[in-house]
Amino acid sequence: MTGSTRIKAILLIEDNPGDARLIREMLDEQGSHTTKLTLVDCMRAAEGHLVAHPVDIILLDPGLPDAQGLSAIRRVHAAAPRVPLVVVTGYDDELLAEQALQEGAQDYLVKGQIERRSLLRALRYATERKRLEQLKDEFVSTVSHELRTPLTSITGSLGLLMGNAAGNLPPPMARLLAIAHTNSQRLVRLVNDILDIEKMEAGRVVFNFSRVEVRPLVAQAIEAMRGFAEGYGVRVRLEDARTATDVRADPDRLLQVVTNLLSNAIKFSSANDEVLVAIEKGTDMVRLTVRDHGSGIPVDFKPLVFEKFAQADAGAARQKGGTGLGLSIVKQIVDRLGGEAGFADAPGGGTIFHVQLPCWDHVASLAIDRDAKPDAARLLLCEDDLDTALTLREQLRQVGFATDFGYSAGDAFTRATATKYHGILVDIHLPDGDGVSLIVRLRELPQYRETPIVVVSGDTSRGRDDLRSSKLNVLDWLNKPVDFDRLARLLAKPAAREANRRPRILHVDENDAVARALSAIGDVVTVNSIAEARHALKTSDFDLAVLDVAHAKGASPDLLPELRDSKGNAVPVVVFSADGATLADDPQEQAALARSHTSIDSLVATVSDRLASRKTSASSEVI
C-alpha cells in the first residue's frame, strides 16, 4: 500500500535558504519529474498558497519570521487540516517535535540529521498515516450513526414498556427491564460521546461564542443533574458568588463541560456526600471549581485523567455507568473556548476539578486595537472567534492597519455607528445573526454606503452568489483561511479596485431572460418596482440602469432625477421595450437615454457600449 503513495505537490515552508536548498537537492536526486516542490519563506505566504493550490504534503520549519513553534504548527494545520504535515525541528527540540505530533503533525525530522532516504520515508509515511487517520475518523462517524438506528428501536421499546405504555408490569419483570433500559441509555451516551470527540478532533464542531453568565448556566446544569445525583444519594451545592462572572463562551458547549464535571464528581462520591461548585472571578479569567469528597485520583493515574477511555479503576467506573470520555470532552471543549482545565487533590480528601475561561470584560477590552500607530487607517473586523481575530489583527498591523473587533453582528453595528471605519471585514457566520443582514444594515447608514466591505467565510460557497449580485456592493468574498495578500490589496488601493470591478447594473423589470443576459456583462440587481429601485439607489451606486418601457413610461419623470451616484453624477439609462412598443418621445430624457426595442442581444450590446464609453470618459478625465 505504501509503495503506491504518490506525492505530487510538496509545500516547503522554510525561511533559511540553505536548509531549503538542501531539501530541494535531496528531492531532486530522486529523479522524479512528477514531484513539484514549492518553497515559501513565511506563514503568510504559506497560508496564501494553501488557499489557492492543492498540496499533497507540507514540510514545515516552525521557526518563521511571522510564526514560531506550536503556533506555526497550529496555523498550518488550521489552513490545511486534511494535508499531511511533517515538521522539521532543531536537533535540541524534541519537546516541540512531540507537541507537533499532538497538534496534528504526522511526523518530524531533525535538522542536521536529514538524509535523502529518511526524508523520502518520512514523506511517504506521513501521507499514509494521514490517510489512515481520515479513514478512522470516517469509520467512527459511520459506525456511530449505524449504532443509533438499532439503539433507537431498543431504547424506544424499552422506554414504552417502562412507561407502562403496554400495561402495568409485574415487579420482577419491571426490574429486569429497568436494567435493560438503563444500559441502553448508557450505550446512547457512549455513542454520543464518541461522536462528539471525533467531531471535535476533526475540527468539525462549530463554536458560537457569546457573552455567557456563568452562574445561571451552572445552576441550570445542577438542576438538570438533580435526578442523577439523587440516584447516587449525593447533594450538589452551588456556593454564593457575589461578583458578576460573565465569560466569553459557547453556552451549549459550556453547559456540556459543567454537566460532565458534575457527572464525574457525583459518580465518584459516596452516598450522603456533597459536591461543591464554586465560581470565582480573577483578573482575566473566571474560575469554576467542582469539588468532590471521593477517594481521590491515584498518583499513577493523574497524567491520564483527560485521556480518552481512561478510567482509574475501569471495573468500578463501568459499574458507575461512565464512558471514559467525559473528562476528555471537557478538556477539548475548554481548549477550544480559549480556557484551561485541570485538577488537584482536595484538602481532606477528594478532588477539585477546575475550569478557567476568559472574562467577558477582558475579551471586550481586546476589541479596540490600542497598539496600532495613531495615524493608522482603522478597520472593523466582525468575527466571533477571538484567535482568528487576533491573528488577522497582527497581520493587518504589518501593512499599516489598526483593527477593532465586533464579536457579534449587534456588537459590530454598535461599534460602526460610534466610529467611522476605513473598511469592514465581516464573517458571514455570526452567533446573533448572519453577516449578510449586518451588511444590509451597514449599507443603510450614509457613512458606510461606499466603505469597502469584504466577506470572510469559513463556508466555501453558501450565499456567495447571492451576495455578489446583490445590491450590497460587497467588495470580495474570501474563504478561511484568509488569503492575506489579496485582502491587503483589496483594502489598500481603492483606485485599482475601481478599475477592475464589474459594472453594476440596476435592472427595473420582471423579465428573467433580460436579467440573465445582462449578468454576463456586469453585476445585476433586478427590482420589480420603482419603489424598490429607489431603495436600491439609496443603498448602493450603479453604473447604468436598464428600464423596461412599461415601468419607464410611468415612472421615468420620478425616477430619473434620482438616478445619480453618490457624487451627484447622472447614471446613464437604457430604456428597453421587451414587446417592441414605441417609446415615449420626451425631449427631456433624450440626453440620458439610449434605446433598444429589438432583441435581448441588441439590448446587451447597447448596454455594453454604454458601459465602455463610461469607462473611457472616466479615464480620460483622470488623464
Binding site: 443509533r148 438506528t149 438499532p150 439503539l151 424506544g156 421499546s157
Partner: protein, 128 residues
C-alpha cells in the same frame, strides 16, 4: 376529517412501529406510516396529513429530497414537516430549518414524550 393525522416516514420497520406506538399515546393522533420518500409523496397527497415526521437518511430519496418534492406539489406544499434524525449537530439543524422543515427531533427519542414534542410543532409558528 377530524383529529390530527401524522404521517411517519422511515425506512426502518422497527423504528416505524416504535414511533407508531409512541405517538399513539396521544389519543387525538391518527397515525399512518410508510417506508420511503416516494411512498410519502403519494400518501401525503392522498391523505393530507396534519404533519409529516420524516427520517433524514433513507435510500433512494432521502429526507431533504422528499421535503423538496413535497414543497413542489401544491397539494402537499403547506404540510408542516418535522425531521426525525440521528444527526443533530447545530449546523445541520439550521440547514434543515433553512430547507423549510418545521423542526428537528433527534434519535434516539424519549418515547413517552415524543407525541408532546410533535404536538408542539402543530401550534408553534415556523422558526426562521
Amino acid at each position: 376529517m377530524t383529529g390530527i393525522r401524522i404521517l411517519v416516514v422511515d425506512d426502518e420497520p422497527d423504528i416505524r412501529e416504535v414511533v407508531d406506538v409512541s405517538l399513539g399515546l396521544d389519543r387525538e393522533f391518527t397515525i399512518r406510516a410508510c417506508a420511503s420518500g416516494a411512498d410519502a409523496l403519494v400518501m401525503a397527497a392522498e391523505w393530507s396529513p396534519t404533519l409529516i415526521l420524516l427520517d433524514v437518511m433513507m435510500p433512494l430519496m432521502d429526507g431533504p429530497a422528499t421535503l423538496a418534492n413535497l414543497r413542489k406539489n401544491p397539494r402537499t406544499a403547506q404540510i408542516p414537516v418535522v425531521f426525525l434524525t440521528a444527526r443533530t449537530q447545530t449546523d445541520e439543524i439550521e440547514q434543515y430549518i433553512s430547507l423549510g422543515a418545521q423542526g428537528v427531533l433527534s434519535k434516539p427519542f424519549n418515547p413517552m414524550t415524543l407525541a408532546a414534542s410533535v404536538r408542539s410543532y402543530l401550534t408553534s409558528p415556523k422558526v426562521h
